[in-house]
Structures are given as structure tokens and as C-alpha cells.
């Protein structure tokens, strides 16, 4: 027989001693229960206050709900802005709407409408005489 193989056979026999190394009696009876309780504890740790109160819901429905709220909001904003635009244009076309039955102040002759810019042909500074002050310097 090959002496090396024979020695390996002895090593293998010696290693069989390790099969007899056993944990304390009853160890394996409790091990799975300990593992399961740790798994359950970890699961409980992951649950939030909302989960415990029963308000937990999936992320997808929440996303759909949020999207619906955003779409509704945009729709309302659109309607409001459309209504405002209608009012502005109505006011622009009929100034009476803006001031009710009150008599309007007469517009200047130059003004063609309330929205047209009033362009004066004369300069507002034409009556003001230019004033030039000369600096005086008296050397001592």
C-alpha cells in the first residue's frame, strides 16, 4: 500500500473524531425557534407606525393617487386661468364692465382707447428753463 495513502487514511480516521464533537444537549431543539423569533423581530422592526395603525398601503396606489391629485390640481388651475383670461379680455373690450355704472372720466383727446399708450406730442419739460450753475472757485 502506498504509505502516503495509508497516512491519509489515518488522517481521515482521526478527522472522524470531529463528528463526535457535539453541542450541548437540546441545543438543536431550540435553535430554529431562536432563529424564527429573530426573523419575526426583524420584520417587526421594519414596520412603521403607519403599518401598526393599519394605514399602510402600497406604494403604487399611493403614486396613482398622488398623480390624480396633481392632474386635478392642474385641471383646476387651467380652468381658473381660463376664467381670469376671459374676464380680462371682457374688461379690455368694454370698460363699463370694470367700473360698473359709474361715469367714466373723460379720456384725453390723444388717447384712442384705454389700453393704447398715451403719447404726448409735447415734451413735459418744455416749460422748464434749463438752469446751469457755474462752479465758482476762489483761490486763497
Amino acid at each position: 500500500m502506498n504509505p502516503q495513502a495509508d497516512n491519509f487514511e489515518q488522517i481521515r480516521k482521526l478527522l472522524s473524531l470531529k463528528k463526535y464533537e457535539q453541542p450541548p444537549p437540546g441545543y438543536f431543539n431550540q435553535l430554529s425557534a431562536r432563529i424564527i423569533s429573530r426573523i419575526e423581530a426583524a420584520d417587526m422592526g421594519r414596520t412603521t407606525l403607519w403599518d401598526r395603525l393599519g394605514f399602510a398601503f402600497g406604494s403604487k396606489p399611493a403614486f396613482v393617487c398622488a398623480l390624480g391629485v396633481v392632474v386635478c390640481g392642474l385641471f383646476c388651475i387651467g380652468i381658473l386661468s381660463t376664467l381670469q383670461g376671459t374676464t380680462v379680455s371682457a374688461v379690455a373690450s368694454s370698460p363699463e364692465l370694470a367700473f360698473g355704472n359709474q361715469p367714466m372720466m373723460s379720456a384725453p383727446e390723444e388717447a384712442h382707447s384705454s389700453v393704447d399708450p398715451v403719447i404726448s406730442q409735447t415734451s413735459p419739460f418744455s416749460d422748464v428753463a434749463p438752469r446751469v450753475d457755474k462752479a465758482s472757485y476762489t483761490p486763497r
Binding site: K13, L15, Q22, P24, A42
Partner: protein, 222 residues
Amino acid sequence: MQEVVIDPSSLSNALGLDAPTPARAEPVVIPGAPVHDAVLVRRSQDGDIGAYDELIRRYQERVYATVYHMTSNHEDANDLTQETFIKGFQALKSFKGDSSFYTWVYRIAVNKTINFLKQRKNRTHISLNDIDFNAENDPDLVALVSDRTPRRDIGLSELQQKLNKAMQKLSEPHRLVVTLHDVQGLSHEEIGNIVHCNIGTVRSRLFYARQQLQAHLSDYLK
């Protein structure tokens, strides 16, 4: 209650049926026999904690033994075994069934143990379990201790200490292969699947590890 699980393809073959079997047939569960691992895994994936408890009970001793023989420390083996099964439950959704559950959970245990040993480095603290009284009746061990060992007065406990110290001198990959093959009795192929290497590598590591052990324990083997 225990259930028997029969592969539908083998059942139809046995009955002489020519009906084509689906690519991935559901196992047939028969009340009164052990449930197949695949069934328990599927139930566990659906959140059945009782099914996972059954899987733990099936493999806890083998996983513990592997970790224990790698660390030579009961407390470390206890912690790592628990962490292995907890990690297994958390990662169970990703288990596709490409390998057996046993191989898969073994991989987790081996990776955890090797990472642990790398962190522990030289801080080896041996805390051995007691030897079962049946060892005294093992003919191989009796012969090894009383007949062929030069130190005939050595007891099994002392031999256990020497053996574990010699094991701790091996590198992790070599210790792992010796543990899985010579202590746990796994085949080369199974070890290759667990440690992700080919059979040739497993054989060469085993040869080298045995040589090293032989050198360390030469006084007790002549």
C-alpha cells in the same frame, strides 16, 4: 402531518403515460410523507414562516457543524448559523431554484464564515464542544488512540485539542475542503458547487490540506 412529493414526470413514466409534461411541473404532494424542499421553499417565499422553520430544522445540524469545524468555537458557530438562516430568509425571494436549497444555504454559511474568519484574523479562540460518548466505541478511533499512537496515554480530549489546533493552522479554503469532505462527507462535486470551483481544484486543495494535517499531527499518526 408529513407529505410525500413525487415528480410528475417520473409518475407519468411509471404509469406509461405519453402525455408531455410541462417544462417545470408542480410536485405532487401526497399526505403522510416528508415535504420536498422545493415546496417548503415556495411556501417560505410566500411568507409561510412555518415552512421556513421546517427547512431550518432539516439543515441546522449540517450548517452548524460546518461552521463549527471551521471556527472551532461553539459561540461563533451559534451566531453564524443563526445569521446564515436569517440571511437565507431575507434573500429567499432571489432564490430561483437553480441549485438545491441545501447547496444555496451552504454557500451563505460558507461565505459568512470566511468573512468572519478574515475579520477575526489571528484572534483565534477555541471553544470546543464535548465529544460524544459514542466516540469511545468507534473502532477507528480506538485503534488510533490505543494501538498505533506512540503516545498511548493520550486521551480523546487531548487528541481533539491537537486536531483542532492543526485544523486552525490551515488556510480557510483548505480547512473548508477538509471539513466538507472528510468530516461532513460531501462529494467533490458538491463541494465544487458550494465553493464555486472545479473538481480538480477541490481535489488538489484536499490533498494539500491532508498533507499539512499529516505534518502537524505526525506524532499521533505513526
